[in-house]
Symmetry: C2
Subunit: 221 residues, 2 copies
């Protein structure tokens, strides 16, 4: 058995001005020192409980963000993706609202549109594209977009998040029915948000059991 380099990489995604952004940062060491890339690092067999734990550790170290919604994406591997040798990267995607990134206020993190073809080292471009495609297709039939909506939100705000991800308008009645069906939100008693000329809109939040556990729809939006 030859040595295989074992790493994790995290695609941290957020919505900003209705556009999907990925968090990138300048690498502080070789290979690709000073090049913008995904936050990533070695798995520590002497400390990490599993690859997910390594991904959470790396994300916290490199971006200051703790305990986001995080899901395994896929594992990328081969002799050529890393100049150091045959390597495996177990990749994850994490979703947070943009104010979580603002609050963490990490000087090295750069939010970049996922559609901007910034050149990335390793196979990080492929990893980002895989994450975006997974997020977009899963948004149709799950609570995934809620993790981009912030701690509290109104239903029109949540609908705009779904629409931004799916790239098309959604019928309001059908949207409300699907949200009710997923049964993952709770109204925050007495909390409303002014909505221009309309009457104030009820504020909602995710029920606590769905903060780390996705809710699925049997049929898509």
């Amino acid at each position: 058995m030859n040595q295989v380099i074992c790493t994790v990489d995290v695609v941290l995604l957020t919505l900003q001005d209705d556009g999907l952004k990925v968090a990138l940062l300048k690498r502080d060491r070789e290979p690709f020192k000073d090049v913008i890339a995904l936050p990533g690092g070695y798995i520590h067999a002497d400390g990490d409980r599993d690859a997910r734990d390594a991904a959470l550790r790396v994300l916290k170290e490199k971006t200051g963000i703790e305990a986001p919604y995080l899901e395994q994406l896929a594992t990328f591997s081969g002799p050529a993706r890393d100049p150091r040798g045959w390597s495996i990267s177990v990749t994850y995607y994490a979703l947070v609202s943009s104010d979580v990134i603002e609050r963490a206020n990490h000087p090295d993190v750069k939010l970049t549109s996922v559609d901007r073809q910034v050149k990335l080292p390793f196979d990080h471009r492929l990893i980002v594209e895989t994450a975006v495609s997974r997020l977009r297709s899963k948004s149709q039939y799950s609570s995934l977009p809620c993790y981009l909506a912030g701690e509290t939100f109104t239903l029109p705000q949540l609908q705009r998040v779904y629409e931004a991800l799916m790239g098309e308008p959604i019928n309001k009645v059908s949207f409300r029915r699907k949200i009710t069906e997923m049964d993952m939100l709770e109204a925050i008693e007495g909390k409303f948000e002014a909505a221009g000329a309309h009457r104030p809109a009820q504020l909602y939040r995710l029920k606590s059991k769905f903060k780390q556990q996705l809710q699925l729809l049997e049929r898509g939006l």
Copy 2:
């Protein structure tokens, strides 16, 4: 960086008598020598092009089966899943019709019902359950079940495969519409199969471009 053990494991699934079966075999070495387990093995950094290539190599070596439909499932990792040390297993699931397994006729392969709670070493039980759950949920909106149906099949036969996976009857009209929508089958000219009192049924096969590439439905069955 400490050494991480890097392996692949394959969940080879087939349908037999309308029941979903997984291929298991007796391990020929420690740990768990002589215990029934999933086909798996080390990644060979000196020969494998990537983890997928390793999975195909291991599957061929251990079961005699080549080039099935194979998809990455998930990566399992941690210090306790393998007694040899901190390990990663990049897992795959493969789908074949039961006659492919019969033709390979490998003396060590044992087909076992996925619902039979045979005790398995490592975290192989969890890996099998993850594969079955992925297959069942993906069957609703993709061509995945076709890979269990054999080289050629009639539409009623294919419907029975979908029904066996989804565990419920499917409306014939809606099934035919979805199959037409996926546009992944071709009729084999002049080939029919006798169907009891009914008129002979047209035989179909997967169009060649879909032999390794899944076709998805926008809305599920």
